[in-house]
């Protein structure tokens, strides 16, 4: 069995050695060098194009970020006249102590109209 194994090893060695002779280095074709330079230049162009695209994309992204930042920082005057207070602020203004006093006076002066309102309070 051991002899078989070593014999097999020897056979494999000789097969691999003959493989080297069976695969000689092929001769390069006449167009090897021109084709190589063509491929180098093609890859150069592709990487240049990719670089330009990347630069453009980065510039556009930076511009968009700047725009978003400016929109956040600069106050928007167009809507200021309509929405100059929040809902809670308006509600607080409505229920302010001055308003309550006026409502009480109105209730005394016009009990018909404000009795329901006082009853509800």
């Amino acid at each position: 069995m051991a002899r078989d194994h070593s014999e097999l090893e020897r056979e494999l060695d000789s097969l691999l050695a003959s493989y080297r002779d069976a695969c000689p280095a092929p001769e390069a074709s006449v167009g090897f060098m021109p084709r190589l330079w063509e491929r180098i230049e093609a890859r150069q162009n592709t990487s240049w194009l990719l670089k330009r695209w990347t630069e453009g994309f980065v510039a556009a992204a930076a511009a968009a970020c700047l725009m978003a930042f400016l929109l956040q920082v600069v106050p928007d005057d167009a809507h200021a006249a309509v929405y100059n207070a929040t809902y809670l602020e308006v509600l607080a203004q409505e229920r302010s102590p001055e308003n309550s006093v006026l409502l009480d006076v109105a209730a005394v002066a016009y009990p018909d109209q404000y009795s329901a309102d006082i009853g509800s309070k």
Binding site: L8, Y19, C23, P24, I40
Partner: protein, 206 residues
């Protein structure tokens, strides 16, 4: 070194003439190594060009021209591995995927006469190709560099950048796998021959 360090240095700084000199000096060696690693003569030139394209674009990463050769071998190994992986993924049947015997038959049909010596070489190529297909692409390349190209462990160490014992283990395992496949193919061949002999004797007896 097949070229002077000075030529490598010039190529590093973008001298096209020096780069041409490097390619011309190493072309034959690289094509031979690629041929034995991929086992497809028709694709050798393509893969060799890929090696030199990678060389062109990574020349500036080479720290010293003294390590140029192992580094070029590393590029060759990587380009061949990429090719082998791609080839495994391709499933369509092309002329290149036919066995050597089928190609021989196609050539014979086209009127090309094969010498006996060439037929024997083709048989060897097919046999070794089949055996090496039993191991991974990495092991195939490693075994080819060691057993066919005859590179020393030290040279392999500088190419793969791993320690000697790890390399020895990998080589031993890969070789054992190939040896097992070799034994199996021999058994199959013996069984097929026995079958033919039986068929012949039974037809002769009738």
């Amino acid at each position: 070194m097949l070229v002077d360090f000075e030529v490598v240095r010039k190529a590093q700084v973008g001298d096209a003439g020096a780069f041409n000199l490097v390619v011309t000096a190493y072309r034959r060696r690289i094509m031979g190594t690629v041929a034995r690693m991929i086992g497809r003569p028709e694709d050798v030139e393509d893969v060799a060009q890929e090696v030199f394209i990678r060389l062109y674009y990574s020349m500036d990463q080479l720290r010293s021209p003294e390590v140029f050769e192992p580094w070029l071998y590393r590029l060759t190994v990587n380009a061949s591995l990429d090719y082998l992986r791609k080839r495994r993924r391709r499933s369509e049947s092309r002329m290149a995927d036919l066995s050597e015997q089928q190609v021989m038959m196609a050539d014979a049909a086209a009127g090309t006469r094969w010498s006996e010596e060439e037929a024997q070489r083709a048989k060897t190529r097919e046999m070794v190709d089949a055996l090496l297909s039993e191991v991974s692409e990495n092991d195939r390349v490693l075994l080819t560099l060691k057993e066919v190209e005859g590179l020393s462990l030290k040279e392999l160490q500088s190419i793969y950048d791993v320690n000697e014992s790890a390399l020895k283990v990998r080589l031993f395992r890969a070789r054992q796998r190939v040896l097992k496949a070799f034994a199996r193919s021999k058994d199959e061949k013996a069984a097929a021959n026995a079958k033919v002999r039986t068929a012949n004797s039974s037809s002769g007896g009738k």
